[in-house]
Every structure is written in structure tokens, then in C-alpha cells.
Amino acid sequence: MFSIILTWLIVAWGAVSCIYMLRCAWHRFPRRDVDDVIPFLYPVDISLAESLLDPAAEFEFRWKLRPPQFRETQRKRMRLYLELTRRMAHNATVLVAYADAEKNSQDPRRVSLACAMQEKAVEVRLYALLTRFKLRLWLLLRSEILTSKAVLPHLRMACDIDGLQTYSALKVAAAAAFVELAPEELDSLTRSL
């Protein structure tokens, strides 16, 4: 009985995937051009992220604060990092969509730069996805582990991807891919990422 129910679930998963692919093929996504990138980006403060993931900072908080206060502070820091990863994931989505459109270019150098940017953007999405899942779980469980162990520095790596390093690499790749922009627009892009 259990195997039949499982088989039906797998068939349903396959059928939903077929419908999704049909939808992808049917709806031609509007191509995101260079004008649809900068206004859609959310700035990510990398130095703030670095400070949140710093083990020394976390140790200092634990040393100075009483357990209930530390716990409350940790939750606030987690929520803050959750917001930063949300922005990272959003920016990566925008850049992936732009890179998709750039791949239609006749210039092989632009195509190559778009590919390099897209690779980094996909890595950032993967990192953000796993990190946000962990953070949401920790916030949901209100685990006691938050008062006894350093947790935020563990979020630097997910799936063998160093999140902040990869995001910085994405910024460099984006600067290279958008090098044809006017200097003020390029400046705006680097500030928005």
C-alpha cells in the first residue's frame, strides 16, 4: 500500500514537472536588458555580513551578555543575515536573467563574460537557498543551541561554497560584464550590488 501511494506521488511530481516545463516553453520570458538591471538590485552590505559571520564578534557577545540577552541578540543577528541572503539571492536572480539575454549577443567576449557572471550568480543562489533554509529552521525551532554554540560563523560555507567570497566574485564578474556602461551607471551598479 505504501509503495503504491509513493508511486502515485512520484507520478504526480513528474506530471507537475511536465506542466511546469510546458509553461516555461509557452511563456516567453521578457528579456532583461541593461536598463532592467540596476533599478532592480538591492544593495548588500558585505562588511556588515562579514561582521555577522565573525566568530570573534559572536564570542564577544556571548562573553558580555547574559544568556537570555545573548539569545535575543543572536535572533536579531540571524534575522539580519536572513535579509542579507535574501538580497543576495534576489540580485543573483536579476543577473542570471540578464546573462540569459546577453547570451544572444553576437560578440563572443560579451557572451563569455555573461557566462562567467551567470556561473557565479547560480552559486550565490545555491548558497543563499541553503543558508536561508538553515536560518529559517533555527529561527523556527528557537533552539537552545543558540545560547551555547557559535552558529552564525558556520553559515559562511554552504555546499562547499563560501558565500561572501562568491558574492564578491559575482560583483567583480558583474563589473566586467557591464564594462560597456557609462562610468556613472557602472558606479551605480557597483553601489547597488
Binding site: 500500500m1 505504501f2 509503495s3 503504491i4 509513493l6 508511486t7 502515485w8 512520484i10 507520478v11 511530481w13 513528474g14 506530471a15 507537475v16 514537472s17 511536465c18 511546469y20 516545463m21 516555461c24 543573483a92 536572480t93 542570471v96 536573467a97 540569459d100 547570451k103 544572444n104 563572443p108 567576449r109 557572451v111 563569455s112 563574460l113 557566462c115 562567467a116 551567470q118 556561473e119 550568480a121 547560480v122 552559486e123 543562489r125 545555491l126 537557498l129 555546499c159 562547499d160 561554497i161 560583483k171 567583480v172 563589473a175 566586467a176 557591464f178 564594462v179 560597456e180 562610468p183 557602472l186 558606479d187 557597483t190 553601489r191
Partner: protein, 241 residues
Amino acid sequence: MKLLVWFIPLGLLASLLWLLIRKRAYEACPCFFSYVAFAVAADVARFVALNYPRPYFATYWITEAGYDLLGILVMYEVLRSVLGNLTRAWWARLIFPAFLVAGVGMSLARANVIPSRLGGIEFYIVIGEIAVRFVQVFVFAGLVTLVPIVGLRWRQYPFGIATGFGLYATVMLLTTIKFSDFGTRFKLSWGWTSLVAYSVAVLIWIWFFSVPEKISTSSRELSAPSPGVLKQYKDALRRMR
């Protein structure tokens, strides 16, 4: 009418093989190319042996076993090419074996619930066939799930291959479940459903391979940017710091 049933998938597979050769797809997807070449040869062999029951019986089961083996190899190729670009994590290498174990487990569990009338080697070939269908659905549905989550581009060869197999495998699993409910009364619909699903799968492959795949990795052999472009790039990096 029977000839038409033979000729539709065979004609579509021959067109696909010609397209794969023309697009040099054997370089990008060697296992899938082998699968299509084998499918054309297997269909021709079955057609030739159609009026000779014993040779047809042997040809049918040998080619079914070949389909099982190549089907698994194609899924391995698809998963390796998509995940290879996505992550270098150690556990990524365990995904395919996990799918394989789950597929075989589901197939054996099914055989336990609904005993087969087949015996000997044919029984194991059918078990393998159902396991391959499960693996194909796992790979296809898993990759499609990654499209909205990670932002993967779906218009690429491995996704096309997985979509064709995924659609066919989903329909065949569904008809297998229904077949166990209705018994031999379901035979006619089984044949037609299988034919239509397989033809649609081949059409999907033709559609995906008819468009040239865009460059998916950055080239290391491109010419250096001009000094002006390099200066702009350096300025941008300086502002970023």
C-alpha cells in the same frame, strides 16, 4: 495500421539521429547519441523479426535490456553535466546512486505488491525497466525543481533530454499503475499511450536539438580587452573596494 504504429517512432527517431549527427551532438552527449542510434537499430531489428515469433521474442527482450542499460547511462550523463557546473560538493556525487537505489527499491516493492506473471530473465528485465522509469522521473523532476529555485536555464540539451525521458517515464508509470488495476482490458490503451508518449518525447528531443545550444561556460581563450575597456574595468573595481 500496424505498419503506421511501427513507422511513426522509427521515422521520428531516424530524423533525430540525423539531427544529432548534423549538430555534432555526439560530442556533447555521447550516451544520448548512443541511445538514439541503438533505438533506431532496435526498431529496425524488431520490424525485420516481426513475422518470426521466436526471433522476435529474443530480439524484443534483448533490445529491452539494452534500452534499460542505455537509459540509465543517459540519466547519469544528464545529471553529471548539470550538477558538474553547479556544485563541487562531495555529496553531489551521491545523488545519482541515491536515485538508482530508490528506483530499484520502488520497482522491487511494486513487484512484491503486484506479483508478475513473467519468470526468469524477463522478470528481471521488467524490474529493471520500471526502475529506470523511476530514475528518469526523479532526474527530470529534480532538475525541473532546480529551475525556479536556483535560477537554472532550462533551454539546454541536458534539460531537453531529461524532459523527453521524464514525460515518457511519467506516462508509462501512470499506465503501469492503471494496467495493474484494469488487467488485460487495458492492453489497447497501453499500446496507444506508449506510442503517443514516446513520439511526443522524440519530438521534444528534436525541438531541443534543433536550436544550437548557447555557450554554457566561459572561454579562457578570448582576446584581451582593449586598454580603454581595461581602464574602465579597473576603475569599477577600485570603486567597489
